[in-house]
């Protein structure tokens, strides 16, 4: 074998290995998904829970508690055992999913929603004075845009100009230019969309969706994709309900300690069995709970089963949690938690979040938690040292104040005070009269306590009350970055959206149709592929086998590239792959027909192969580039499903050029250089 062949063979092998590495998670995932469905079916049959409920509680972390309510006797134990395995499995799936090919909504079932900010309504809301002329301009603008006109705001400006009306009669300040006002209105609409995005992201956990996607499209649209959610009604209920903003007092630390203590006692009992219950209770009362600090914890990884006192079968990496070894046996719950100096919350290492949620939701635990106390996680994880933690707060259940009483919130820059250096951002919020009265009372009575700002059940921030605030205008200081301050202001303003959203497109695919589509797509692909492979062998004999090899390689590469970029496979995407199968052999057909011609004209085998590949090359290039042009246009203009089709088609075209020109050539070269072939089987 010549040197140059070896280099090429190694190159192809490396590509194959990379492809294999990229495809492995996808391959693994399909097996795990099958197992997951089995467990869900089993729990479904053992309890009164249906599949959707199981799915939901899986993400919410209260599966065990719900099973206990929905089953009894032997089936309860069976269901709990399955639940434990299911939890492990879903944690594993979540990890792998990020590296696998995503299934599109049309294949796994789900809901796709597009919302748009109601710009005409926004204008009406912010206008200084409203009259028929303004209404006339607004509706004229709306019509033009709907007929396929330009950007909303430029049409609006045109309409004001053509009527010789200054925009500052209705918007902005006196004497302000149209341009400035347009900019302000644009900012306002951006702000409305961003606030809604923030609210939706925060809320989306309720769906029990593994990879929810909420993205901004263009200037004032929001696209929401919820895999597995098939009730538009339910999705819209969650999405379109106004954000619930509450202010809740964080419990005093002595109350928090005693609650944690109680939970530790319950968990210890659960671990050691009922027999030992009494003796441990007395012991624990003397011994107050204490956190391990974020730095000094002697962390150890244990299996979830250790914690729940269940039979340990196989300890797998994915299911382990981080506990403080010093206190684990004595305080099973606090061992999962960490203390960060100066932080007004309990830190939960990310890998312990599920376990903590499970414990909090246990009926035994719920029984010992006072009825006026509520657990709230933070809106997002925090980083301390090298680790990431979820914030956990224990607050009063009843809110002190509701978001409706808030009239505005904004980011301000400090001019420099005792507690805040000059240039540092802070958030200022304004309350209405009623709110100001309540706020004055609450702040007066609770100086030095934390007041948590809770958005849809999650704590955005929990500032300490420093003085009694009577004027209805408060400052929230902290070591905010500008971005954090903006986010908080955004959340505070989320209560009332100035520009309502309305849905412009909704698409739901039921799970049964999704499964059906996968089955049909896969069937067509396999049968189509088999027929083409057979045809090539019959028509081109041995050379056909080489082309078939290239074809299969081509398909492997398409999937590998998709997995590598974590792309989405849709039904049209499968159609694209199938079409590629038909078209991919084209390059080889071109080459082979050319080789046949060259052989007929009396060339030797080597010369015919050389000429065949050489002459066919420009043809293949030109033909494929023109096809690629349409595929790329399709990708940039298409929406969801069409993008999927264009994507697989484009990858397929490029991959087919490589396999047909490089790989098959290599095979021919190796064979003809090693063996003295008298007649080419083509």
């Amino acid at each position: 074998m010549q040197r140059s062949y070896i280099v090429k063979v190694v190159l192809v092998l490396i590509l194959l290995i990379v492809a294999g590495y990229s495809l492995y998670p996808t391959f693994q995932l399909s097996g795990l998904n099958r197992k997951e469905t089995e467990f869900i079916d089993k729990i479904d049959s053992l309890t009164r829970l249906n599949k959707i409920e199981i799915d939901e509680s899986l993400t919410a972390g209260d599966l065990e508690a719900r099973i206990r309510k929905a089953a009894s006797g032997d089936s309860l134990n069976d269901a709990l055992a399955s639940a434990a395995e299911l939890l492990d499995l879903s944690a594993k799936i979540e990890k792998i999913e990020k590296r696998a090919i995503k299934r599109g909504l049309d294949l796994q079932g789900g809901t796709y929603l597009v919302y748009e900010a109601d710009l005409p309504q926004l204008l009406r809301n912010v206008a200084k004075n409203k009259d028929d002329r303004l209404e006339d301009i607004i509706s004229a603008t709306k019509n033009t845009v709907e007929q396929g006109g330009d950007d909303f705001f430029s049409v609006l400006e045109e309409n004001f100009k053509s009527r010789n009306i200054e925009m500052n009669r209705y918007f902005g300040r006196k004497g302000q230019t149209n341009q400035d006002i347009i900019q302000e209105l644009k900012d306002e609409s951006q702000d409305a969309v961003n606030r809604t995005l923030e609210v939706l992201r925060n809320r989306i956990d309720q769906f029990g969706v593994s990879e929810p996607s909420i993205t901004k499209q263009g200037a004032n649209r929001i696209v929401i994709e919820l895999a597995g959610v098939t009730s538009i009604q339910r999705a819209k209920n969650v999405i379109s309900s106004t954000a619930q903003l509450e202010f809740k007092l964080v419990q005093k630390s002595d109350i928090i300690w005693s609650i944690l203590d109680d939970i530790d006692r319950v968990m210890r009992v659960k671990q050691k069995g009922d027999a030992l219950a009494d003796s441990t209770v007395t012991q624990s009362q003397a011994d107050t709970a204490q956190f391990a600090s974020g730095e000094t914890a002697k962390d150890e990884e244990v299996s979830l089963d250790d914690l729940f006192g269940e039979q340990t079968e196989e300890v797998e990496q994915d299911t382990t949690i981080l506990v403080d070894q010093n206190t684990f046996s004595d305080k099973p719950f606090t061992a999962l938690l960490r203390q960060i100096p100066g932080a007004g919350y309990i830190a939960v290492p990310l890998q312990n979040v599920r376990a903590v949620q499970r414990i909090i939701n246990l009926p035994e635990v719920q029984a010992v938690v006072p009825s006026d106390v509520q657990f709230h996680f933070g809106t997002e994880a925090t980083v301390y040292g090298e680790d990431r933690f979820e914030r956990l707060y224990l607050t009063k259940k009843e809110p002190e104040l509701l978001g409706e009483t808030l009239s505005d919130a904004s980011v301000q820059i400090s001019g420099g005070t005792q507690s805040l250096r000059a240039g540092a951002p802070y958030v200022s919020m304004e309350l209405n009269n009623e709110g100001a009265k309540i706020f004055s009372k609450v702040t007066g009575n609770n100086i030095d306590r934390q007041l948590a700002i809770v958005l849809d059940g999650k704590v955005a921030s929990a500032p300490v009350i420093q003085t009694k605030i009577t004027a209805g205008s408060a400052m929230i200081e902290g070591t905010f970055t500008m971005e954090e301050a903006q986010d908080l202001a955004l959340i505070l303003r989320a209560g009332a959206l100035p520009a309502p959203l309305y849905s412009i497109t909704e698409n739901t695919v039921g799970p049964s149709l999704g499964r059906d589509s996968i089955k049909r797509g896969a069937n067509s692909a396999v049968i189509g592929l088999a027929l083409v492979i057979l045809f090539m062998i019959i028509y081109y004999k041995a050379a056909g086998i080489v082309a078939d090899f290239a074809l299969i390689l081509n398909i492997i590469f398409i999937f590998a590239v998709m997995a590598g970029f974590h792309s989405t496979l849709t039904l049209p995407g499968i159609a694209g792959i199938i079409l590629t199968v038909g078209m991919a052999v084209d390059a080889n057909v071109l080459i082979y027909e050319r080789i046949r011609e060259e052989l007929k004209s009396g060339k030797t085998i080597r010369a015919a192969i050389d000429a065949g590949y050489g002459r066919a090359f420009t043809t293949i290039l030109d033909a494929n580039i023109t096809t690629l042009i349409t595929a790329v246009v399709l990708y940039s203009f298409g929406t969801g499903p069409i993008k999927g089709f264009a994507l697989t088609l484009s990858i397929g075209i490029i991959a087919s050029m490589f396999t047909a020109i490089v790989v098959t050539r290599l095979i021919f070269d190796i064979i003809t250089s090693r063996y003295a072939i008298k007649k080419l089987s083509i």
Partner: protein
């Protein structure tokens, strides 16, 4: 094995027959399109709501219609699909005001009117008129841009007359496929537009292969006339054209037969497009190049005559 050995078909000689066939097909297509008031656009473009529901027990379309007329959707299109036992219906209503949620109103009404007959939602698609219009414009723009891209690429790689031949062939393919869809009263959905663009890509692929051969032969056979070169090139590539069309057709037919309702029209558009595209790359694209050339020659000779007479 070989299907076409040393063919000597006089494609250029019979090109007039091709023109007549194409002209007839285009006229039929245009007439059908005019009579139907343009292509039948699906709700992806017009806006509207479509529900695909599978009922647990048997129910008739008229029972459903009765139920829907209570809420003002008596004119909805109701179609049973799949096996009769599946009790699966597709219900569609026309576009309405932005923000009206027909899907949910219908779901609620059916749940109320058929309390003992539960249904499973297979799919719901609700498109606002605004986004529909946008998609329609985007689709037309996409077709035009890819045609332009192809025109530029082929003018660059070949000559302008080849680009003209290719683009005319593409228009030919798309118009006839649209016409056949119109004749069969099939709907143009977003997926069908994707199929049209694929046809554009596929047909151009076929055409370029022939052009490439013409370009090569023009260099080698300098003494031959253009008609002869085109004829020779078509005969040399006919085998490849047929084989590739065949392999592609195999998979698309499989997709049509087994792919299910969702991509039925999509794969049908591809089947029609591949057949038409193969035909046009032989009988339209290359002959047009010839016509364009002879037109240019005529002009040239006329202008030289003028020069001479002066």
């Amino acid at each position: 094995m070989q299907f076409f050995q040393n063919t000597h078909i006089n494609f250029i000689g019979i090109r007039k027959i091709g023109y007549i066939i194409s002209a007839t097909l285009i006229v039929i297509s245009l007439v059908s399109l005019v009579l139907h008031g343009g292509p039948r656009m699906g709700i992806d473009f017009t806006g509207g709501t479509s529900l695909d529901l599978a009922f647990a027990q048997s129910v008739s379309a008229s029972e459903l219609r009765n139920s829907l007329s209570d809420i003002g959707f008596g004119s909805a299109e109701i179609k049973q699909v799949g096996l009769k036992e599946a009790n699966e219906f597709i219900i569609r209503v026309e576009k309405m005001e932005e923000g009206t949620e027909a899907g949910q109103v219908i779901e609620a009404e059916l749940t109320q009117d058929f309390p003992n007959n539960t249904y499973e939602i297979k799919s719901v698609n609700e498109v606002g008129p605004k986004i529909g219009g946008e998609l329609g414009r985007a689709a037309i723009l996409a077709v035009l841009i890819s045609l332009l891209g192809i025109l530029i690429y082929i003018s660059w790689r070949f000559e302008f007359k080849f680009a003209i031949g290719a683009v005319i062939a593409l228009f030919h393919d798309v118009i006839i496929t649209l016409g056949i869809f119109s004749l069969l009263n099939l709907e143009i959905s977003l997926a069908v537009v994707a199929a049209f663009l694929t046809i554009v890509g596929y047909s151009i692929n076929d055409t370029v292969v022939v052009f490439d051969r013409i370009r090569e032969n023009l260099k080698v056979l300098r003494r031959e006339t253009l008609p002869n070169i085109i004829n020779k090139s078509l005969n040399q590539t006919i085998s490849r054209t047929i084989i590739t069309s065949l392999t592609t057709l195999i998979v698309v037919v499989v997709l049509f037969l087994l792919g299910g309702e969702v991509i039925h029209n999509f794969s049908l558009a591809l089947i029609i497009g591949i057949l038409i595209g193969t035909y046009s790359s032989i009988f339209i694209a290359s002959p047009i190049v010839l016509e364009w050339q002879s037109r240019a020659d005529e002009k040239k000779s006329r202008s030289t005559l003028l020069h001479k007479s002066r």
